[in-house]
Amino acid sequence: MQRVGVFICWCGTNISNTVNIDEVMTAVENMPGVAYSKDYQYMCSEIGQNLVKDTIKEHNLNRIVVASCSPRMHESTFRKAAEAAGLNPYLLEIANIREHCSWVHKDKEAATQKAISLTRAAVAKAILNDELIPGEVGVERRALVIGGGIAGIQTALDIADAGYEVDLVEKTPSIGGKMAQLDKTFPTLDCSACILTPKMVDASMSSKINLYTYSEVEEVSGFVGNFEVAIRQKARSVDMEKCTGCGICLAKCPIKTALSEFEEGLSNRPAIYTPFPQAVPNVPVIDRETCMKFRTGRCGVCEKVCPTKAVDYDQKDQILNKKYGAIIVTTGYDLIDLDYFGEYQYMDHPDVITGLEFERLVNAAGPTGGKLIRPSDKKKPKKVVFIQCVGSRDKSDRGKSYCSKICCMYTAKHAMLLKDKYPDSEAYVFYIDVRTAGKGFEEFQRRAVENYGVNYIKGMVGKIFPTNNKLQVNGVDSLSGEILQIDADMVVLAAATKAKPEADDVARMLSISTDSDSFFSEAHPKLRPVETHCAGIYLAGACQGPKDIPETVAQASAAAVKAIGVLSKSKLVNNPCVSEVDKSICSGCLACADMCPYEAISEKIVEEKANGKIVGRRVAEVNETLCQGCGGCTVTCRPGAIDLKGFSNKQILAEVDAICR
């Protein structure tokens, strides 16, 4: 016999102003199954909760309905209260008479009737509620970090610090990411390598961190606490164990003309190479597409010169299958292609470069040894034009509609670096708006203007006309309306940032979502910024949206904490509202399994007696740890053999009936 207790909250005056509580109380008393009802001003307060707890015991209640605010607000509060009183928390239902009633209706009589109706539906459902016990599942106490830029390195270090194992997977031959390419960092102008390389070394030295460079994640299945991941370790053609990083092979390689990815194509590298001298691990790879040995079968110089016999042309890709409790995605960003911005001549003129190329040109370890010179004729540039928002805030099909966030600051930095190197040079910055929201940012940008005399022009460049040895920049100062023509020696474009081209594939592989620009979506833009909708998968860095280094690092640490939260538990509790199969009526058609987005339903053969023999019969079976409780399977099942606990066919029909009374 169900004994339902109904608790009606006034929510101060939030509910009671529009809903006649007395009338609801009278109606509730007459509802079938209701053994007790009580109203109170603030049911969620400590007194209110105690009221619920005490009455459960006093009146021997075995089902609870709380008519109050949205279940999204306080369902868990009241479930805890019920549990404290010895009742299974899933025997409780909430009637939403605030957000869905008192707050949206003005007519008191109508609102009161609706409150009664919603409460009646909750009572009808509660009567059919069953005790649900969440399953428990063990946790693989190891984390996977995908992407070895500053975000990935920081996350890995923090997780390792907490005492858990971390695997860090990086696609390129070295960790370091975009930050390793940068020269100085705003707003302090400290050297990027000086603050990054120690972290890279820490990551490689940590006993808790395994680096998988030149590797990619290929397949992910499973769920929070128990992800199963296949990692492809691409053939490096160099034995990691034997190589000492002496670098002889690099020097002797006869191929010298491959474009260096790390140097943004501004210099060349051999076919066997490390991306940059401080690479971690300091073990070269052979770029099989340019290597003569792989292309023609002749050569083999590196193998001959290697003192430790580490070169191995026969090395094959290897697939590692590993298990993880949590995954952190830190895959970073790219700059957009400038093919369609022909008016800036980037594709046609060597002295028009991107901001990232500028970083390499001013870097002491860069292709020019830190001498800032024009790529075309190796001369010092005297006049440099910087153009911001190249493709940012651009909703046409060649750009990105968002603000890339970092360009205002790095352009100010570039202009100052130029002036530092060549005090007699001139710097012009074309901008739409200067955005300097960040600690010390505004001061930094103003320093460029006030102390360095960088010429900031609010306006855009129409087109660059290359003349014989200048770049004639045609622009406008929109404030004065003056049309400008600057004969520049070099132009630096702040190209928009974009999500990695493979982001959509990564999202699909991980079952997380992306926004319309292919940046990964966080679970909540304000309150859950590093979580995804998929439990156990977290985000950090520019793969979630344009970000600078301080923000990236902060997010990386936040994501690490979230991951540690999972890893530190010995068991995880599931949502018990999962599907279950009534095997006695299941026809085994497995339409449910086809539809399930989590592959939680599989075929099972049950043995049954038929015609005097034991025979196997195919039925569906739900893996409760995989099932997320969407209930989509229940609709594929015509006879209703598969049903969703907590939202069963019977319960929902009872709600419909009750609402329509």
Partner: protein
């Protein structure tokens, strides 16, 4: 037909003798002239009573459900429509393909006893012979020839798959798909209704549904209705009451049609067996038409490995409810004002 009948018997005998199969599922002559009912044969000697005539309209594929709980190998004779039904049962995981040997029977149509009676051709009828597109009704003392289409079932006149779409062995020769009609004819009944006003449509269907006596013959004969336990029989959930009540009749018919959506092979058996002559095919075909229009042409039972239209999706799917938005209702083509 007579020649093929002997071939069939021979095939059945051999199959049992060679232990190719344990059971043969075919037809057997009943007591009445129009009665050719499904029968299981396990012994060679029983094959003599096996029949193949103009009344073998019953779809044998669904009877395979009787054998889902055995490991016996079954040989079954399938006409065009039966083969579609068979594939559908395989797609629904209700029958294992490897436990069945299919003997395909091309079929140009089956005779509707009602039409025979109306023409008074049943008096003393001993046999019906087929000669091209005519049927010869033979009695003791005379022979009457009538054009076949005058006595075939309506559903056979519009048959799109007279030859089995799948089989292991074909018996007899394929027949020309004369009755194959384009979709405009197939869906003409649906289109006529669609063009009526909402009230007219309601009146039509209210009239149809209120005839229903809920005998469930439509469900029982349907090869897409293969559930172990039908939801309409679920006494615990009770989605459908027992009372004769208009709303329950409507509920039954809408849900029945909806449950076979994307799986209905359009064999017309439901309408054929309906004792109240409810035009069930117009419900089924509405769903087929909508699926074709919204999600691309689909014929249930053609490919057992295909994904059922309601069991899959495309990212760019259209819908019928968000007008004006992306993926919205298809614009009426060429509307001249």
């Amino acid at each position: 037909m007579e020649k093929i009948r002997e071939e069939i018997k021979e095939k059945a005998r051999q199959a049992l003798a060679s232990k190719e199969v344990d059971v043969i599922l075919a037809w057997e002559k009943g007591e009445l002239w129009y009665d050719s009912y499904p029968a299981f044969f396990t012994k060679e000697k029983d094959i003599d009573s096996l029949v193949w005539d103009s009344f073998c309209v019953n779809n044998l594929s669904k009877y395979l459900l009787e054998y889902t709980m055995t490991d016996k190998k079954i040989g079954v004779f399938v006409k065009g429509c039966d083969a579609l039904a068979f594939n559908q049962l395989v797609q629904d995981n209700r029958v294992s393909r490897d436990k069945v040997v299919l003997y395909g029977l091309p079929c140009s149509g089956m005779v509707d006893p009602d039409k025979v009676r109306t023409k008074n051709l049943n008096q003393g009828l001993t046999e019906i012979k087929k000669s091209k597109d005519k049927l010869i009704f033979i009695t003791k003392d005379k022979e009457i020839t009538v054009p076949a289409h005058e006595v075939y079932y309506d559903k056979c006149l519009h048959c799109r798959y007279p030859n089995p779409v799948t089989y292991d062995q074909l018996v007899g020769e394929t027949v020309a798909a004369e009755g194959v009609l384009d979709d405009s004819v197939r869906f003409s009944g649906v289109k006529e209704l669609e063009e009526l006003s909402c009230e007219e449509r309601f009146e039509y269907w209210d009239g149809q549904f209120s005839k229903c006596i809920r005998c469930f013959a439509c469900r029982n004969v349907c090869p897409a209705c293969s559930c172990k336990q039908c939801t309409f029989d679920d006494s615990d959930l009770e989605v459908l009451g027992k009372a004769r009540e208009d709303s329950e009749d409507k509920f039954f018919h809408l849900i029945r049609a909806y449950h076979v959506a994307g799986r209905c092979i359009d064999c017309g058996e439901c309408s054929r067996v309906c004792p109240q002559d409810i035009s069930l095919e117009k419900l089924n075909r509405k769903l087929i038409k909508d699926i074709n229009e919204l999600y691309g042409e689909y014929q249930a039972g053609l490919d057992p490995s295909a994904k059922a239209p309601l069991g899959t999706y495309k990212l760019e799917d259209a819908d019928s409810f968000t007008v004006g938005e992306k993926g919205g209702k298809k614009r009426e083509k060429n509307s001249k004002r």
